[in-house]
């Protein structure tokens, strides 16, 4: 006869307000095998836990049910308590009578009845629980950082400086991300590249960091501590060992009229190119879509001029397997595409540009050497209208969230413009000014007061061109809705920050979840901001939601610490809730008949073939074997197995079957 202890928690008023906890405890105490059943105000409090520990000793309980909140909340707490009380932690179960009962039902008998059913069910389950020991798996002390923006750079450096190996994967030819495109940064107005490029170089030169640029993740196998990542190194058509980065090829390439991505299409680049002067690695790649040789089959000028003969036209993509223990995702964000704003004529009028394009115009290394000239005719604009919330906070546009960085960089843009064009007037149309952050509000004030930016609170309905001017039609809600019309020379849209294209695809490859906007989802919005719900994969930067530089860097360091924490141990312990194939005495050996239909359902390739041999070494039977290191315990194989030879610890057939029975038999 089992000795189960049942502890019903009032959770202050949270449960007892609608559930008669005494009655629950009292009813349950009558169940066979229940040695002790009591209720208490706060089970999770120290005294509460102590009660459990003592009870375990006193009644030498062989099972514990805590009827309280969701196991997703406090299961670890109480299992720990039980362990300390000398009971195997897996003999402790939680009955969720708060989230699934007291909070969702009124104070009625039916609610208490339901609570009783729930507890009874868990009691019956616990009777069939088995003591389990956690699994220990080795940890590969090497991290992969996906994405070489400022977040990725920070994460990589932090991990590397802690003495661990890091592999950085970057999709583009150079690391640096969006930050390398920025002119100055708020609120200090220090030059973006001046603070970023040294760290880019540091990454390239760090003994612990291997940088793989122009590469993308193909697939991911394994689990925390033991990931195996397939990486596609896209062909650069270049032997990097030979290339000295002299740049002769890029100057000699005849095909120079390709819109430059780094300049956001405001400038041009050749077909063989280095994205920008300070690029890391500072070696060119050939853009196959535009290279005359790849498209038309002749040219090869770069090959001729290369002093070291480093050009390799026939270089194929290369797939490399990399084994790492942890992964940090820093794939960053993108901004909404032009065609998203027909009413603003973005994409239709040359002089309607987005924030990043303005950054390039204002950047000393940009297409205009930092002089603000409008794209259409190169004139210096006299009136510039900045439109904040272009897409953001606009349910009609399907983007309900605030892109967060726009208020600040719009203020910055207005400033930069005013500093460069003293006689010009910057206008800003805004909904609200969201300048939360150190020195942020002051910064916006400066833009308004010192730099005389005309802030107009209201939306812009449409922008249209008339006699070379852009007519911006909007409303000033602080002037009781007066219509405003501004004849601007340049319009800058603070376009909404959105998830990078391919984010969804990557998330599915890595089995991390993502929200409806395709931003990667953290494991807990407050308490686990840099973890994903896939153990061993962490997040940093704007791939999670729009973030500014300080936030991205902070998150990156946070993720780095998590990785280092993981690497602090040589092995990590995993929950033993995994599937096992049953064993029987010879001649049966197991009920498994080796049809291996389970092998194809396993998402983790955890099911292997095991041969039972006799003394002579002759194979008597081939059985399924489940690799405890790989099994994640989804149980799909268990439900599929016809002979019921596979069972899932913690959710055994016996347990779930009993639950169904107990839940209904009242």
């Amino acid at each position: 006869m089992s000795k189960i202890g049942v502890f019903v928690c009032h959770c202050g008023e949270n449960i007892s307000a609608t559930v008669d906890c005494e009655k629950v405890a009292e009813t349950i105490s009558k169940l066979p095998g229940v040695a002790l059943s009591m209720d208490y105000k706060y089970m999770c409090s120290d005294p509460g836990q102590t009660i459990i520990k003592e009870a375990i000793k006193e009644h030498n309980l062989d099972g514990v049910v805590v009827a309280a909140c969701s196991p997703r909340m406090h299961e670890p707490t109480f299992r720990k308590a039980c362990a300390e009380g000398g009971l195997n932690q897996y003999l402790c179960e939680m009955a969720n009578i708060r989230e699934h009962c007291s909070w969702v039902h009124p104070r009625e008998n039916s609610t208490t009845e339901k609570a009783i059913d729930i507890v009874r069910t868990m009691v019956e389950k616990v009777k069939r629980n088995a003591p389990l020991e956690s699994i220990k798996v080795p940890v590969t002390k090497k991290a992969m950082v996906i994405g070489g923006g400022v977040a990725g750079i920070q994460a990589a450096l932090d991990i590397a400086n802690a003495g661990h190996k890091v592999v950085m994967i970057e999709r583009d030819p150079s690391i640096g991300g969006h930050m390398s495109q920025l002119s100055e940064t708020f609120p200090t107005l220090d030059c973006s590249q001046c603070i970023l490029t040294p760290r880019m170089v540091e990454v390239a030169q760090h003994p612990n960091i291997t940088l793989i640029s122009y590469a993308e993740v193909e697939s991911l196998e394994g689990f925390i501590g033991n990931f195996k990542v397939k990486v596609r190194k896209k062909s650069k058509s270049l032997d990097e060992k030979l290339c000295t980065g002299c740049g002769l090829c890029t100057t000699k390439c005849p095909n120079k009229k390709i819109p430059n991505e780094f300049e956001r299409g405001l400038g041009f680049r050749p077909a063989i190119y280095v994205p920008f002067p300070q690029a890391v690695p500072n070696k060119p790649v050939i853009d196959k879509k535009n290279c005359t040789y790849y498209t038309k089959g002749k040219c090869r000028i770069c090959e001729k001029v290369c002093p070291t003969g480093a050009i390799r036209f026939d270089q194929p993509d290369e797939i490399v397997d990399i084994e790492v223990g942890a992964i940090v995702l820093c794939t960053g964000f993108d901004v909404k595409k032009p065609d998203f704003f027909p009413e603003y004529g973005y994409g239709k009028y040359k002089d309607v540009i987005d924030g990043l394009q303005f950054e390039r115009l204002a950047s000393a290394s940009g297409p205009t050497q930092g002089v603000i000239r409008r794209p259409s005719d190169g004139e210096i604009p006299k009136k510039v209208v900045f439109i904040a919330c272009a897409g953001s906070r606009d349910p009609a546009k399907g983007i309900e969230y605030c892109s967060k960085i726009c208020c600040m960089y719009t203020a910055k843009h207005a400033m930069l413009y005013k500093h460069k064009v003293h006689e010009g007037t910057p206008y800003v149309f805004y909904m609200d000014i969201r300048a939360g952050g150190k020195m942020y509000e002051e910064f916006v004030r400066r833009a308004i007061v010192e730099d005389e930016t005309q802030y107009i609170r209201g939306r812009v309905s449409t922008v249209y061109e008339k006699n070379g001017k852009l007519i911006v039609k909007g409303v000033d809600t602080l002037m009781n809705g007066r219509l405003v019309e501004i004849e601007a020379d340049l319009v800058v849209l603070a376009t909404a920050g959105v998830a990078n294209d391919g984010a969804e695809d990557l998330a599915q490859k890595l089995h991390v979840s993502y929200d409806s906007y395709k931003f990667f989802a953290e494991a807990h919005p407050k308490l686990k901001p840099v973890e994903t719900n896939t153990a061993g994969i962490f997040l940093a930067g704007a791939c999670q939601a729009p973030k500014d530089i300080p936030e991205s860097v902070a998150a990156a360091s946070g993720a780095a610490v998590k990785v280092c924490g993981l690497f602090a141990n040589n092995e990590l312990t995993r929950e033993p809730l995994i599937a096992i194939v049953n064993r029987e005495a010879p001649p049966l050996y197991s009920n498994c008949v080796g049809c291996f239909m389970c092998q194809t359902v396993c998402p983790y390739q955890a099911i292997e073939r095991e041969e039972v041999k006799d003394r002579s070494g002759k194979v008597i039977k081939t059985l399924a074997y489940i690799n405890p290191g790989l099994c994640q315990g989804c149980g799909t194989c268990v439900a599929l197995c016809r002979s019921k030879s596979i069972d899932l610890l913690g959710y055994t057939n016996d347990q779930v079957y009993t639950e169904v029975m107990a839940l209904l038999n009242d």
Binding site: K337, P338, D339, F340, P342, E343, G347, K348, P395, A396, K397, G398, T462, Y464, K466, I471
Partner: protein
């Protein structure tokens, strides 16, 4: 091919040319328009500002009548009527309780089986597919397509074209060999609501958009709404006063334009009813004009 037809007050009263041209065009394309028997006012402008139930009952009855008459697709040329009927259709489909209330009020069932076409959807579905072979005289003019307020708003209910910079009417014009100019006032207000009470404001609002049309060299303004038409056409004096210049630019219904292109006479499209006489001067057809396409910047995801 038989379709239901809801004229509403305008097409029976102020805008006979719209009705005539619509019927004649439809006939040319083998579409018979059957007037909904015993139809009533759609309750536009007045009702929905005062009494929700009334504003749904009036169109509700019209829809119910159409359904009863077995007219599952009805053409509603007037933009205001179109708006009222579509909104009603939408709300009744959303809320069964409401539908029951309304049907008790109007004393007849409505199952929601009536599909509503505005004039452009009608042209798009039944005329454009065969229009090219029927065009006898290309409508070779630079025109400003004016959609007005009700034809494309609110988008989440009408699900028609785009609120900002709509394109469908421009497509029709292009199809009949015309050249829709790119201008800025496609969906601005013409002041219809104030047509009677504040004529001066009509002059201002309509004037603004007229100026842009003229500046961009439009030979005519194309409309699909009787209110827009009456304002731009009938209130021309007020408009000219605001612009302080004499404008002769005609205001033409999209159906009239199509009509001309497929060889209907000026009478058959009802130009005789216009205040501002329609004098479109012949132009030599230069190829580029005919093949000229509308600048399209379709949103990738139109929510």
């Amino acid at each position: 091919m038989k379709l239901g037809f809801y004229p509403g007050c305008s097409l029976k009263g102020g805008s006979p040319e719209y009705r005539i041209s619509t019927f004649n065009v439809a006939e040319k394309f083998g579409v018979e328009l059957v007037e909904i028997p015993d139809w009533n006012c759609c309750g536009a402008t007045a009702a929905h500002n005062m009494d929700k139930e009334l504003s749904l009952s009036l169109p509700g009855r019209i829809l119910a009548l159409a359904e009863a008459a077995g007219l599952n697709e009805i053409v509603v040329p007037c933009a205001a009527c179109y708006s009222r009927l579509t909104v009603t259709n939408h709300e009744l489909a959303e809320d069964t309780q409401l539908r029951e209330n309304i049907s008790t009020i109007i004393g007849m069932k409505y199952e929601g089986n009536v599909k509503i076409l505005n004039i452009i959807q009608f042209l798009d579905k039944y005329v454009l597919p065969h229009v090219e072979e029927k065009v006898v005289k290309k409508f070779n003019h630079d025109v400003a397509c004016y959609y007005g307020c009700l034809l494309v708003r609110p988008h989440n209910i009408l699900k028609f074209d785009r609120e900002e910079n709509p394109q469908t009417m421009d497509n029709v014009i292009t199809k009949i060999g015309g050249n829709p100019i790119d201008w800025a006032f496609k969906t601005e207000c013409c002041g219809a609501g104030l047509s009677v009470s504040r004529t001066d404001l009509v002059g201002k609002l309509s004037g603004k958009l007229m100026i842009d049309a003229l500046d961009r060299g439009a030979e005519a303004i194309i409309v699909a709404c009787p209110m827009c038409h009456s304002n731009l056409d009938m209130r021309r004096s007020a408009i000219n006063k605001y612009m302080n210049r004499e404008s002769e630019i005609p205001v033409i219904y999209i159906t009239q334009a199509v009509g001309l292109a497929i060889g209907l006479s000026e009478k058959e499209v009802g130009f005789q009813y216009h205040m501002v006489k329609v004098k479109l001067k012949e132009k030599p057809i230069t190829e580029n004009l005919v093949v000229k396409k509308v600048v399209q910047t379709e949103p990738t995801e139109e929510k």
